[in-house]
Symmetry: C2
Subunit: 767 residues, 2 copies
């Protein structure tokens, strides 16, 4: 959890809204009331004591920037709008309630409806000790009421037809506005309010973030809000509501549909949102969207929580467990969107589910869709769905035959049911984390201006030795007894093959992507690669995905820094976006996983030359302590035990070993002047070992040609590669990592076959 | 270009900053001064006449939300910070200058340094016609100066060490602050100012967006700013500057390096930014970054433009053309980051480039790296690099042998040099657009909560017929004369093959991804697929990339809407992010391209049943007009000429034809009750034809099995697929599109071999 310090004047009531937003965003806040933040002089006291938070990057002053920042710390906090426009509408509400009408709200709070001015209040202080006559107080108050009337009208109209202020879920706008209004309503300072505002304010008061900061609302406070609501005539007509909704942030089509559905407001809400998730990405392109999901995701319902209590939503998913109890059925449903299950509560005799017994019978694995009201769970900590209808879309006719019915099947057993295993907790969590790693990879490189290049899968060029390549051919006969074309001398006649030459599946896109680095500067690949090794270990696959960035005008330092930043980025991204999944892996798969990952994000990686690494490993005290099975010596390829010593014992953080002996590295790596090392680097990570490997590429034509000759690399097929050195050569570098290794590293999963949807290894390519 | 209407009071001076931001963001703004925006009552006049813009989605009121919105309309406008923290610092400056100290700035403008109050000013109006004594004016002014002193000190300290207010490029903060300060400085209302502020204000005044709205600054205005700067003692000491930089938004490490480099402030700036691009994505994970590029990209220099005039930067790239002229060499350099070239101006005798003749000799294709000062081009419209050093990293020893030297090679000729062709304008533009399409695809699905699934490349299952599959094998003998394992009866012995069975390269990931839709709900694939067709057309490849989303609990309507939204999203994304590339294609490849694409974004797609489509095509007047070579009739697979008639002649926009005859569609498509059609759909696009195809999947086990029998689809290998219907089946749908078709569609390129880095087709898999 990220942590920040808030500096705020002792009596500053903006403290509360900042604390609530921090709670909603899952950010820890240390409050230093009455202290000032060093380094923020230009924005603090000189402006009359504004709130300031200090962050690792520096201070931020003023309420709105602070709220926006806190809301953004974790992308999943989803406190912003869902597009550029709704973001702006959120901003608009913040501006109006935290700045523009704040002084008038202050007056409504300080001056009672009868004109009495609260002692010690700003109004009283402004009178410098002289008593303020109730008549003067009343005048002040009525000016404040007039100044805020239009805003309250817009607020009421919006909330007549929508569950929240801007989108259909709690945003910064709801928190900011409710934090200003709740004290007014709960204290009776605002004795009448539109029922829609009261309903929404109550939902906010029960929201976890509000409860965390202000405590649960008291019965008296709830009663006062309710009576304020009953003091006014209900509901604006639909047309006015729609107009006001348009004014307050619903999109034009949404406003129209809001008007259309005004007769059944409970049916609006999450159900038809098809919404863009979280604030993970700003400003998607603007166009009129037509897709809607027709159902809410379990993750959306559980995240919105108390904010949507009372709303009607539809959720579909697969039953994880079901039980029957005194006329009710309780069904835990998962739709893959989150580790948590949403509980359906089903009463006897509702449509489509005519007996509890029938419902309870659907059992694990059945597919159901339920519509109902979101209600609080008994402990008040979460919400569940009180179904008004339930459809069984797909049942399990014979539960004994459902292969993944049991609660805890071994990973080996699940591997026999690859098409069903994502219905289990572990594989679903892997799927979400793998997805997050993939998107984090694209985001990382795209944010830095790299271009994604699709290097070829079928190729006649080979990077690291043809022995490991799968052949790709169209010469295998359709009739298994048929012949394979041969020339007169009995050789296989590849001129008859599809590509006119022997072709195989790529083992790396590096050589090809270099040609794009030598024209577009900064590029990366992310695609499948193959090894025809007859390997049955838990760390090898025949088909796996690789990521290979390549940067021009760069040397070893840049390459190491890029690798370090990339790994930290992906790790931090997963910690942020898959917190519940990482929690699961931490508990069930690898104790201490989260700490291990946080260590990678927090620590500067050690950079150590191979020569120094060997020197360290050969120190007598190290040899004594480590008891290596193979004694390290200069020139050897380091074994895992050596790498582990460096990362797990010696430094306790990631280590980048660099400048390896040339004889244990590939032909294309750039030679150092010492004549015996090349500019290669491997990133070693505690508990995992090597995760990435890279190098500077030999950019000098003559040196490269000589090295190819020394290492017997045939040059005939490689003229195109030499061309890159022949014409406008450039220093460049890159690295590669196996994507599945990355997923193993972030999940703690121990067998590589369990982190890819359909693993391929000797004898296995069935599905 | 997007367009919005601004409603603002006739005398509201916030109009200018809004117009400047719109210009900087490339957004067209129609100004209606003195009018009010309908539908924004709650936020407009009641608040005293705030600015309002109307957008397609609704109105937005108040200056800061409006600026944020305009800045975000085009993600490439890069007007925000480069991370969550700098975003907050931008917000902070907006808040301070547009709200908090705005009244004091107003006073500095209205009351002259000698205390004279301007006629008609707010101060004069507040006195209700009574003259304000200079003494009272002076008191007002000195209060305003005191109230703003700390802010100006922070501003000066920041600008001592940085070129811009928040990051090293122009953001909203610079525009907002400069728009408030420039009138004060140019009018002499602020007779002294820190030199760093003056320098920066001048750079802003020359920025294209300011010039577009305010005109170029006059000589008198420039002189007044310069003399204000010389009225104060120069420069704060480095320590104070660093402290203040920390206060005003530089990250802690940046502040330290700023202090370290205070002795050579000109060396800071873009050069070492390694910065996160644009506002394309908000809030990347927070960690201490170590990677820096050591060079600026040409796109960054050209985009920053006037804002970084005078800064020293390093740029590397490849020479597109070079010429010599009276002691100078002019070299146009491209680094792949943008269509535009950055011009290097090199003087005789600089380090590393001892004679102009030598520099001019490097010629097209050479790789150079230059360091120098950013200066305005002669026409003042752009910037160029005045080199103080130039290194030739890689030359072209014999220009006559450089294969892509000529200005305009045919696409066919370039195809012979796949490794060098991205150095040409056309292929570089394709590379950027292809990258944008790929990332837009991921963003689209990720924003909507879809999970990215890697379906297998090697498979024993086949979706649409094994005849088109490449075999994948390890049985081809290393010795070409060697045998291939056969069983006793002469059949090829696949039990000896790597996977123990015949295996091939996938033709589609759909069947496999369905298993994830039936557990994780909303998923998509994006990976390579293969066809072993001996096809030599300009529209077929043997290896191509496909995108296949699959959604659970969904029917044909949702599927069509998802396809429509997806295509619009990608198109809008490319229009926004690759504007210069699309301009190039519009001019050189397909006239009217941009309009064609904009039409797709703007129009609701027509949805038409196959039966209705055939009915339309068979109308006598259509047959007469269209002169089809084949007369359409119900049951046939529509030909391009028929599809083209619907999209290009009849509707002039995209058309989704749906509910096709079952006999021309695949076995897995869901049967309609009419017994003769299935829930399939094809998206047809003007000038292109079919771009996407999809369907609802048959979710009923018995119906699916019967259909497989009817169509002779063997069930043995498909039991896993039937399991998805056997256990908790769910209605689901999806579609697929060939990624290269998408790139052809957005670029107008006519041969599919030119939109993929290394095309594979019969006889070609060399590189």
């Amino acid at each position: 959890m990220s942590s920040f310090t808030l500096f705020v004047a002792a009596d500053d009531d903006r403290r509360e809204v900042i604390e609530i937003v921090a709670a909603a965003a899952g950010v820890a806040l240390v409050v230093k009331a009455g202290e000032t933040c060093p380094g923020a002089e230009g924005f603090g006291p000189a402006m009359g004591g504004v709130p300031v938070i200090s962050t690792a990057q520096g201070p931020i002053a003023r309420t709105v920037p602070i709220l926006q920042y806190l809301a953004g710390v974790h992308a999943h906090s989803a406190l912003h709008g869902d597009c550029l426009y709704t973001d702006a509408v959120v901003d608009q509400w913040l501006q109006v309630f935290l700045a523009d009408i704040a002084p008038n709200l202050r007056i409504l709070q300080d001056v009672a409806p009868d004109g009495t001015v609260a002692e010690g209040s700003a109004v009283a202080q402004a009178a410098r000790g002289k008593p303020v006559a109730p008549k003067a107080g009343l005048a002040l108050r009525s000016r404040a009421e007039a100044a805020t009337a239009a805003v309250f009208a817009a607020l009421a109209a919006r909330l007549e037809t929508h569950s929240c202020l801007v989108t259909e879920r709690i945003t910064l706008a709801d928190i900011a506005v409710a934090s200003q209004l709740l004290p007014l309503l709960e204290s009776g300072a605002m004795p009448s309010v539109a029922p829609a505002i009261a309903r929404w304010a109550l939902a906010c008061a029960h929201h976890a973030a509000f409860v965390a900061v202000r405590g649960a609302p008291t019965e008296a406070a709830v009663n006062r809000i309710m009576s304020a609501a009953s003091a006014v005539a209900p509901a604006a007509p639909a047309a006015a509501a729609a107009a006001a909704a348009a004014a307050s942030g619903a999109g034009a089509p949404a406003a129209a549909s809001a008007a259309a559905s005004a007769a059944a407001p409970a049916a609006t809400g999450l159900t038809n949102s098809g919404s863009v998730s979280a604030g993970a990405l700003s400003a998607p392109p603007a166009f009129a969207t037509r897709w809607s999901r027709g159902r809410a995701r379990a993750s959306e319902v559980l995240t919105a929580g108390a904010a949507i209590i009372g709303q009607t939503v539809t959720v579909g998913g697969w039953v994880r467990s079901a039980r029957k109890q005194s006329g009710l059925a309780f069904i835990d449903v998962s739709d893959g969107s989150t580790m948590a299950k949403l509980q359906f509560v089903v009463k006897e005799g509702i449509a489509d589910a005519d007996s509890i017994a029938a419902v309870a019978k659907v059992g694990t694995g059945a597919c159901v869709r339920g519509t109902g009201k979101v209600v609080a769970t008994r402990d008040g900590k979460s919400v569940e769905l009180e179904c008004t209808s339930l459809s069984v879309m797909g049942d399990i006719p014979d539960p004994s035959k459902y292969p993944v019915a049991k609660a805890r099947l071994s990973m080996e057993a699940l591997r026999e049911h690859q098409h069903l295993r994502p219905r289990t907790n572990a594989l679903a969590a892997v799927t979400r984390v793998r997805n997050a790693c993939a998107f984090a990879t694209h985001r990382f490189f795209q944010e830095r201006g790299f271009l994604y290049i699709h290097t070829p899968i079928i190729t006649s060029a080979d990077c690291e030795g043809a022995g490991e390549m799968f052949s790709v051919t169209t010469m295998m006969p359709a009739d298994p007894k048929g012949p394979i074309p041969r020339t007169e001398d009995g050789s296989i006649d590849y001129s008859k093959d599809f590509f006119g030459n022997p072709a195989g599946l790529t083992v790396s896109g590096q050589l090809q992507v270099e040609s794009f680095a030598c024209s577009m500067s900064d590029v990366y690949t992310f695609g499948p690669t193959f090894r025809a090794e007859n390997s049955h270990t838990s760390r090898h696959l025949s088909e796996f995905w690789m990521i290979e960035p390549e940067i021009a005008f760069a040397g070893l330092e840049e390459d190491m820094s890029l690798a370090e930043d990339y790994l930290k980025y992906c790790t931090a991204y997963v910690l942020e976006h898959c917190a519940a999944d990482i929690e699961f892996f931490d508990q069930r798969v690898e104790k201490g996983l989260r700490d291990r990952l946080q260590n990678v994000v927090n620590e500067d990686f050690v950079r150590l030359s191979y020569t120094d690494a060997i020197e360290i490993l050969c120190r007598p005290e190290v040899l004594k302590k480590a008891k290596f099975s193979i004694k390290p010596s200069w020139g050897m390829d380091m074994r895992s035990e050596h790498e582990r010593y460096l990362t797990d014992v010696m430094f306790k953080k990631p280590v980048i070993v660099n400048n390896y002996p040339k004889d244990i590295k590939a032909f294309y790596m750039r030679a150092n002047d010492d004549g015996r090392t090349v500019q290669a680097m491997d990133v070693l990570v505690p508990r995992i070992g090597e995760l990435m490997g890279g190098s500077v590429r030999e950019e000098r034509l003559d040196v490269l040609e000589k090295r190819m000759e020394e290492m017997d690399v045939p040059k005939d097929n490689m003229q195109w590669y030499l061309d890159l050195r022949r014409f406008g050569t450039v220093p460049h570098a890159g690295f590669g990592l196996g994507f599945e290794r990355l997923v193993m590293y972030v999940t703690g999963m121990e067998n590589i076959r369990d982190v890819i949807p359909f693993p391929r290894y000797p004898g296995h390519a069935d599905v």
